[in-house]
Symmetry: none
Subunit: 416 residues, 2 copies
């Protein structure tokens, strides 16, 4: 029993869950996928010694987003729990959300006087976002408070807080690389709430232009011949609704080790504690040794330790096989350190991002579960083809989660 | 961009979808299925080079009909979209249906004066149907219009058009090879619409006897000692409800190459263009070279080309292994021609029709996907047993459809 009088889970029933983003692929060379080509002896060794299978995170043929895929792997069916990306981004940068808050991702961007978009990223702003958001705070429209947060580079989060709001509104950011103007947000549902939210959002975007245009930082950028950050463009509206945490649902404690805000956000949403790890960047340069070390340390306190590796997905979106293979080697190193722990080690991915198409796809991803007395199948290699004959068969994300919860001893029997 | 200003899909992302009707089997000889016995080197070669798996079109253990199986493979869940076979038959013979039309298949049949059925097929009528239906046109009962169409031999389609109709009525055709009488159609739901439709249908069948009995063609048949076609017997009631086309749903264009009316009808229902191919008969004598040539030509204009092969199913219903093997050889030839195209080639079946039982069964059917950078698994032969260890695993028809749509680049990501 620990200090709170709760049952402590024996170490060998704890779990390290490694999600390697965008790991799955199609044929990239010599009839093999990236994993088939990669140098990953430890991953193969673990596949040899444990249970393997394939996962279609959201179901067969469905192309998963990053947010929905993680929700599923954490056991929260996106059909029930997904209300847009905004709140995850907000939670990921450390905002405390209130029930009913509508959150958006935004970019600082450059527009001309006719609201034509010159650059969706204001010349890839560096650190000025933190200063710029200060000038926007305190904004209120129709009694609804607008809260602005900056994250990395040109990115930020907008929160609308007040009664009667809805996430059913369209983006003001066209996402287009073609010439475009700032879009008017429109209700995508015929409700009073959606109409009100779109109206307020449009006013917030308009006011942001008035305020930012005269900001001293922008005046300075102008003098330096740089693009000005004179508007915010919003996307990914989502409403925050508090959900039962993993702890409340099952009883076990959990934490997250990740570099990127989105994954921290989804983890936070389901009640994981977010650990700060120096060198976890969400990029190719991420310090995998530091993440491994942090995960092992976290095992002392948490029953489930979620480790996210983002670099594989970045490499895949860039169509860069060499970088993908480099990242898989890093994951192999991560596994090499973690396998020494007497815990369940689960290694999988959220979705495929095939090098050949540079986008998410519905191709299933590999799964391996190592540790305890899990079944040992005949699969000898950790790649998409080899694990397709593994003893786990073909799972969804929610099914993998149930399997993990059962291994930990926290599952509930149906019937008696 | 094409003339309509739409994005044109690059050739290598287009799809030829070949559905070999009733292909799946059980053991027929020497522990092998029909596919296991057949001479089909090209199908094996494609299985070697691509992804394979099994499909239970409507789910494990469910016996698919031909219409529902095709709906599923086209991406339309039969639980939501199936409203009876009649409308597909009607669309397949080229009828323009209106929302709410209730359509039936019918046979010209021979009955005696007490409505006892002498022959369900009026002695397998040849071409007289076209002439006979003319005498039935213009019929109206309770303000509901009855429209008659003949198709091949003794077959035809009846459409009831008017307000307040329902497909929830029983057949007037007993389907029985035992002595039987014309059945009275009964409402199978306790609704005003079903009662009205059954009443009208019974009146239409009764009037058909009065009109056909005195038809000159029948008088002539009588003189020649042939069975007279003196009534219509109906079955397969279904209501037509317009659905979103593949084009509207996903954005891609599609066409159908098939010999039999039913498959053309299902294709038409989901918005495919029906191509006329000389020699496509839906029988064993179908001109497979002509179909292959038409498919390749269609690729110039359509993103998805559906090719249906019916002969395998006919052979299976007849319990004729030799004919089934003959048809598989034809399919092998089809694949030999089509594999030269730089497109995705998908070869599968709608359902099994085992030779040993001469009817549809729930045994899963093989699937192969070849082209682009699809995963290459270790399966070397295209038969039910070999593909069961393929990397596609075990799919439903709707799941196969989603997978194809994703390959084409028309899938929608769930989440972001």
């Amino acid at each position: 029993m620990n200090s709170e009088g709760e049952k402590e889970l024996p170490l060998e029933k704890r779990v390290i869950l490694v999600v390697v983003d965008g790991l799955g692929d199609r044929v990239v060379k010599d009839g093999k996928t990236a994993l088939g080509l990669a140098d990953k002896p430890v991953l193969d060794e673990l596949a040899c010694a444990g249970s393997t299978g394939l996962m279609s995170t959201l179901g067969r043929g469905v192309i998963p987003g990053s947010d929905t895929a993680h929700l599923a792997i954490f056991g929260y069916d996106p059909q029930l729990y997904y209300r847009g990306r905004g709140p995850f981004e907000a939670l990921g940068v450390g905002v405390k959300l209130k029930q009913g808050d509508v959150a958006f991702r935004f970019n600082f961007a450059t527009v001309d006087s006719d609201f034509r978009v010159i650059d969706r990223r204001a010349g890839r702003l560096k650190d000025e976002g933190a200063e710029l958001v200060k000038s926007l705070q305190g904004m209120s429209v129709e009694g609804v408070e607008a809260i602005f947060l900056s994250s990395t580079e040109h990115r930020g989060t907008l929160i609308l807080r007040g009664d009667g709001l809805s996430p059913a509104v369209s983006d003001t950011d066209s996402h287009s690389i073609e010439p475009a103007t700032v879009l008017e947000s429109k209700p995508v549902e015929d409700t009073r709430e959606a109409k009100k939210t779109a109206r307020i959002l449009n006013e917030v975007v308009k006011r942001s232009k008035a305020i930012l245009s005269s900001h001293p930082l922008n005046k300075q950028r102008e003098r330096e011949g740089k693009l000005v950050a004179n508007i915010i463009l919003t996307r990914g509206a989502g409403v925050y609704e508090k959900v039962e945490s993993l702890k409340d649902r099952y009883g076990f404690s959990s934490c997250c080790i990740a570099g990127s805000a989105l994954y921290k956000g989804v983890a936070k949403y389901v009640g994981m504690e977010i650990l700060k790890v120096k060198g976890a960047t969400g990029r190719l340069d991420t310090d995998i040794e530091a993440k491994a070390k942090a995960a092992i340390q976290a095992l002392e306190k948490f029953d489930l330790v979620f480790v996210h590796v983002k670099g594989t997905d970045n490499a895949s979106h860039d169509g860069n096989l060499e970088e993908k293979l480099f990242m898989i080697k890093k994951v192999n190193r991560l596994a090499e350190i973690l396998k020494e722990e007497d815990v369940y080690l689960v290694i999988t991915s959220d979705h495929s991002t095939p090098i050949s198409i540079k986008r998410h796809s519905s191709d299933p991803v590999p799964v391996l579960i190592h540790g305890g007395s899990v079944r040992k199948d005949k699969v000898q290699f950790f790649d998409e083809i080899s694990v397709s004959s593994g003893c786990l068969g073909h799972l969804t994300g929610v099914e993998l989660n149930r399997t993990i919860v059962d291994l930990m001893g926290y599952g509930h029997m149906v019937g008696s």
